[in-house]
Assembly symmetry: C2
Homo-oligomer: 278 residues x 2
Amino acid sequence: MVETVSLSRCHGGAQGFYRHTSREIGRSMGFSVFTPAAASKARVPILLWLSGLTCTEENFTIKAGAQRLAADAGFLVVAPDTSPRDTGIEGEDDDWAFGTGAGFYLDATVEPWSRHYRMESYIVRELPGVIADAFPGDPQRMGIFGHSMGGHGALSLALKNPGMFRSVSALAPMNSLMGCQMGIDALQRYLGDDREAWRAYDVVDLIRSGHRAPPILADQGTEDEFLPNLLPDALAAACRDAGQALTLNMREGYDHSYWFIQSFLADHFEHHARALGS
Amino acid sequence: MVETVSLSRCHGGAQGFYRHTSREIGRSMGFSVFTPAAASKARVPILLWLSGLTCTEENFTIKAGAQRLAADAGFLVVAPDTSPRDTGIEGEDDDWAFGTGAGFYLDATVEPWSRHYRMESYIVRELPGVIADAFPGDPQRMGIFGHSMGGHGALSLALKNPGMFRSVSALAPMNSLMGCQMGIDALQRYLGDDREAWRAYDVVDLIRSGHRAPPILADQGTEDEFLPNLLPDALAAACRDAGQALTLNMREGYDHSYWFIQSFLADHFEHHARALGS
């Protein structure tokens, strides 16, 4: 059951915020959906956006200017929350880079996080069905994109689920959780000390170990204050060595913010439209 | 002296937030400026946005998707705050429709509000000079637009200052402060009981009493929850009777939110570009 929190007409379609009780997470989860006018005639492609650390389903929806582009392209755009919330797990709100707002799109295996922190299963095995049941989106034409931690999510989930996402792109993605302290800290707390298990959540390692995604579009600002956590060079090297198609645009003077995201979002919609039709 | 609070590269230009000490207000005031890439070669037209009740300089800047349009049109877009803040006046924060966030773009004459609540003088007599001094905008090519209370501000200030604003438009404007209880309450507390003085802040009355503005573009959602405070029919009748050029678009199903604003903002940029060049 999807509950409508709010719904407003927007660019000839509608922007809604919704809640449902997630089977995978075991908690109420919020998400937003932009439904374009084109969806009144037939199911339209789905674009799934994954946000970065500290975000909810609101940040991208409010700040990115995506609705104008989605209306033009005829995409149903879905933005889920970035983690479970109010799980009652002690310490869930203590660290902006772990717990609430920091689900890292993985399935935790360490107690107590493993009880609810199952964002990978939520995004891959639950949300697309919820969307297809309640909205006029076509899960056979689904793309995925995201920012920062959500760029890691988009790339890793596309690499691990061939055929599920027919297009993929990222803005300032975290390209190697194992290659940065913030990622290592999260992997250790969610997955424990067995580093072999971490490799399933490292984009660079996935590419180097043979996983393949549709052609990747990535944008990265040169003045991004989080560059040490993002490692775009490692992504470029892995794709080059492994033969994974990648277009990586370094954007002079841009930072990590939604001012950067909105500046290049039109290119990402075009990238997904080429693969998904629209 | 304009202090830069933050500055991010955006759509080839830059989005900044700024503060300065206002002479008219007697307090620190915040505003945002989007500077387009076109301004690196020559001064560009200025578009002045006035926000609605409860807003700061952030709402429009973050939620409207204006930067993409401003970059394309080559406009410097300025969004000031909607009132003085932290004046120390007792009760300034008690009512969302009066005091903080509710300056109504007028000069208060009743103590204690008259000490700082001088938004009309601030917008007309101070801010354009501050902008021209610190940014590459051309005050000879300046347009004004706004939403709700800010639509009232844009229309009334354009009507009262012929030649200053070469273009004007509004989204869901409050068209007659004297015609709605919310407006009457504000006028009484800011200006006192002399209703003759209120007339300088009533768009419909200004038009009926002979004031003229450049051709007005206005958009109004039919599902706007604040329609009793907006009175679009009164605007249409006054313009028709007085011969003031008006294009009023009633937008089926749209509400009062930024989802509505962003849906029709491109039309407003085109309207201003026709008058201002770009």
